[in-house]
């Protein structure tokens, strides 16, 4: 059997390299597609993270939950702290 020429060997190496690159690219594309699909809101009932203590809905009355209790301050007591904005 004739020994493959250096040119034939080079073509074979090139073919293997092309298949390898194609396989890696296909895997990367599939992985990216899965991440994007998983992140898309249409694939889930909510779009919020499972690790967060969030309200996960659009009902602003639920979010705000009503006022804190406030009352007039005694005239003789100096403020203990200030709410003056930042």
């Amino acid at each position: 059997m004739a020994t493959p020429s250096r040119m034939q060997l080079a073509r074979r190496r090139l073919k293997v390299a092309r298949y390898s690159i194609g396989a890696v690219a296909l895997s990367a594309f599939a992985a990216f597609g899965l991440v994007v699909r998983d992140a898309h809101p249409a694939t889930h009932s909510t779009a919020t993270t499972a690790v967060a203590p969030s309200t996960t809905n659009n009902d602003s009355s639920t979010f705000f939950g009503g006022s804190a209790s406030i009352s007039p301050a005694p005239q003789t007591v100096a403020p203990q702290t200030q709410s003056s904005g930042s």
Binding site: A47, F63, S69, T81, G85
Partner: protein, 278 residues
């Protein structure tokens, strides 16, 4: 007074309250969420502002709260304002900000719906520079109080308490916050000029420019400091519609205009009748 400085403001606790854990919490949040620490996770995420990114669980939790705030306020208080803040000139820590500079152009604020969070996977369908300042401080005050278990925490106008606390308000009034959160949003403190025009850090998402609200300071009482802070920002950005917007959400709010005149929401008036604020 018992306290320390972090997140660009004074953090105060009752006399005798242990500082170490609270101080560590504030500093850790500042390192992770500040736009002004080169190594912060926020800056790392913003370095590639489009496409998919994996973030830490703590980052995901805070961003999730920011997205909740955006939904609850119809996009008024949004984490997508980072680009507009930078365009307005707020591109470095406030003490290092030049007092004036070249005129600014408005930067479009992306819709918060451009951001999708699933677990720790973040997807941005258009370039978004995040700024979580709208929620980080208020939530950290709440978390610090939970760490203490009892008492109160105050950080640059944001307060959470489990005990009755006498609080000074813009313009000199005082009230007692029995329990919960109180926050004041202000355009008077962090202000600078570009092209001779006054700028501040509360961006109107519709214009991409600092808000032209008639209010200079808005104070809101809510069940938590995080919610009070979000509501105060939204009410300020809403302008004249702010008081009724708070009333529809059963929140007490106090508004100070640029001439120092005070307006209160119905809820505030019921709790602190006119003339009874000290």
């Amino acid at each position: 007074m018992n306290g320390f400085r972090s997140m660009g403001c004074d953090v105060l606790l009752p006399d005798g309250a242990p500082l170490d854990g609270v101080h560590a919490l504030f500093d850790a949040r500042d390192r992770r969420f500040s736009r002004f620490h080169d190594s912060s996770e926020l800056n790392s995420v913003n370095a590639n502002p489009r496409g998919a990114a994996l973030v830490s669980e703590e980052f995901a939790s805070m961003l999730s709260l920011a997205l909740d705030a955006a939904r609850a306020t119809g996009g008024l208080v949004t984490p997508a304002v980072g680009g507009a803040l930078i365009a307005a000139g707020y591109d470095r820590d406030f003490p290092r900000l030049p007092l004036d500079g070249v005129a600014v152009e408005p930067a479009r604020v992306p819709f918060f719906q451009s951001l999708t969070l699933r677990g720790v996977a973040l997807l941005r369908t258009e370039p978004v520079i995040l700024d979580l300042n709208g929620v980080v401080k208020g939530q950290t005050v709440d978390d610090a109080l939970e760490l203490l278990g009892h008492g109160w925490v105050s950080a640059g106008g944001d307060i959470a308490t489990t005990v009755p606390l006498v609080v000074g308000l813009p313009g000199g009034d005082t009230i007692t916050l029995e329990r919960g959160g109180l926050a004041t949003s202000s355009v008077t403190k962090r202000a600078w000029r570009r092209g001779g025009v006054r700028q501040h850090h509360l961006i109107d998402p519709e214009t991409g420019l600092p808000s032209c609200s008639p209010w200079s300071e808005v104070t809101v009482a809510a069940q938590s400091c995080y919610v009070a802070d979000v509501a105060a920002k939204a009410a300020l950005l809403l302008g004249r519609a702010g008081p009724s917007w708070l009333d529809r959400r059963r929140l007490a709010g106090r508004f100070v205009d640029h001439d120092g005149r005070v307006t209160v929401s119905e809820r505030w008036l019921q709790a602190v009748p006119a003339g009874q604020a000290a």
